[in-house]
């Protein structure tokens, strides 16, 4: 039985937990120490909620080497010209000023689980009582033959923020009319399941609205199907005609190789030469800090206890967001933010006597297909049979009215502002 269930709050028992929420676990004892690695939707949210709900009993240190967070979520809207890059930037000032979080502007280089400490690039050693890891993904540079880290300028992935995202837009702007963009989509599981297909939509939107109507976008997919496929594909036809072509493995017979110098992509059935732009989105895995700590023994991602978000390998460590195996929950900013709140509740319960409630999860992913035309997928999730399992799901339907799609896009934009405020303020 987990800590969460043992301390379940029911009825008037909540008052006892509420009273203890504001007191250190043991009076006179030094504060409990929580270190959070990674300042994205998982880590920053966890740091905020632990500091907020720890009743002053927990000292929270957020380890993040970047001064500014650049969101991957909504970066496709930057590619499509619906947002400026500056609108994707968020600072940590409010987290430190409002909640008393200590920001360690350093790269975490190693975790010593035996002595419970995080080692930073400048040699600092941060001891912890609980560690929250939310390092995001690393790319598997060897997952596409002929492609490598050296080739990520010529054939950008744009699956991590910053220069890569900007390269995607620059290359899109340079595509001539009649040119071919080839996107190599990633295998499951990967960050943002509908992301490649929203990005293809943005490519088509930009090409069409800049008069490059003879250009085309070819998606070579290693998967037989993809997120929101039943809605994306009829929408592509409606909005962009035949501009976007999606090819399943049975059609392209596998991606055999790419040549970054020549802009060539070879599949089992066809060779695409002189591509205007090749977007390689490779296979992915948990960030190195989590893998090297021995928390991802198989498959590259970290197994967690679905009731607590604790690593199954170490009960003092929580793994959130894209780096963990979250069952039916997709790797999304919404999921990471949601999982962080579960982890924060468990941490505050264990270290500060805070209340514990039944664990449940929620996620929604919006995707923009065309101006004022967005679709969504989402669901409710619970721990079940050792994994996070969907208990109710919903998805946009093909053929919805323009008004429904406009409203969905308005939701999408409002969600970004709200979740950014929830994470960073």
């Amino acid at each position: 039985m987990t800590q969460t269930r043992r301390h379940l709050v029911a009825g008037s028992g909540a008052i006892l937990a509420a009273a203890s929420l504001c007191m250190p676990a043991v009076l006179g004892q030094a504060k409990a120490r929580v270190v959070v690695v990674g300042g994205g939707p998982g880590g920053a949210t966890a740091a905020k909620y632990i500091a907020r709900d720890g009743g002053g009993a927990i000292a929270v240190t957020l380890v993040e080497e970047n001064e500014t967070y650049q969101s991957c979520f909504h970066s496709n809207l930057y590619v499509g010209g619906f947002k400026s890059y500056e609108q994707l930037l968020h600072r940590y000032d409010a987290l430190t000023a409002t909640y008393g979080i200590t920001l360690a502007r350093q790269r975490a280089v190693r975790i010593d689980r035996d002595t419970k400490a995080v080692l930073l690039a400048d040699g600092t050693r941060l001891p912890y009582d609980r560690l929250v890891l939310s390092p995001g993904i690393d790319l598997k540079y060897d997952s596409v033959p002929g492609w490598s880290q050296d080739a990520e300028e010529a054939m950008p992935h744009g699956w991590k923020p910053g220069r890569q995202t900007q390269l995607i837009r620059q290359k899109l702007e340079a595509v001539p009319d009649g040119g071919t963009i080839v996107m190599i989509a990633p295998p499951n599981p990967y960050r943002c399941p509908p992301g490649p297909y929203e990005r293809a939509s943005m490519f088509a939107h930009v090409l069409r609205t800049t008069g490059r109507t003879k250009a085309r976008v070819v998606i070579l997919d290693p998967k037989d199907s993809f997120s929101k496929q039943g809605v994306f594909m009829p929408d592509w036809e409606k909005r962009y005609g035949s501009m976007i072509e999606w090819l399943a493995p049975r059609v392209h017979d596998g991606i055999k190789s790419v040549d970054p110098a020549k802009g060539t992509v070879v599949t089992g059935f066809e060779t695409y030469e002189n591509c205007a732009f090749v977007n390689v989105i490779p296979a992915q895995m948990a960030g190195a800090i989590a893998r090297e700590a021995g928390l991802a023994p198989a498959g590259g991602y970290c197994a967690i206890d679905p009731a607590t978000m604790k690593s199954t390998a170490d009960p003092a460590v929580f793994v959130l967001g894209d780096a963990c195996i979250a069952g039916d929950m997709p790797k999304s900013a919404f999921s990471a933010n949601n999982q962080a709140k579960v982890a924060a509740m468990v941490v505050c319960s264990e270290l500060a006597g805070g209340p514990a409630f039944p664990t449940r999860y929620f996620n929604t992913c919006w995707s923009l297909v065309a101006p004022d035309d967005a679709i969504k997928v989402g669901g409710r999730y619970e721990p079940r049979d050792g994994r996070i399992a969907a208990t109710e799901t919903f998805i946009s339907q093909p053929g919805e009215s323009d008004e429904v799609r406009r409203q969905t896009q308005a939701e999408n934009m409002a969600w970004y502002d709200a979740i950014s405020a929830d994470i960073f303020t």
């Binding site: 919404f334 709140k341 669901g379 999408n412 934009m413 409002a414 709200a418 405020a421």
Partner: protein
């Protein structure tokens, strides 16, 4: 009885605060009014509860809110209503 009333109110506040974290992924705690997702801060409690219950019965349209409300008990809804009802919108 007075003490128990206070105890229940405090328990309700803890529950409302906990459950509110699910709401603030989409609804701004500041109550800021934005197109697309309505503010939920400072509503009359009975109205707040009635709207949530209507989503829970799938009478009121909206996929996200229907899925959220389906799992909320009446006690959850009144706790949320009290929590958000006590907040004031910030400009």
């Amino acid at each position: 009885m007075f003490w128990w009333g206070r105890a229940e109110a405090a328990g309700n506040e803890v529950l409302g605060r906990h459950l509110s974290a699910e709401c603030t992924a989409c609804h701004q705690l500041s109550g800021k009014s934005v197109t697309g997702i309505p503010p939920i801060v400072g509503w009359p409690e009975d109205q707040f509860t009635a709207v949530l219950a209507s989503y829970g019965r799938k009478e009121r349209g909206g996929q996200v809110m229907q899925a959220i409300a389906a799992k909320l008990s009446h006690g959850d809804m009144t706790a949320l209503a009290a929590y958000f009802g006590a907040l004031s919108p910030k400009p």
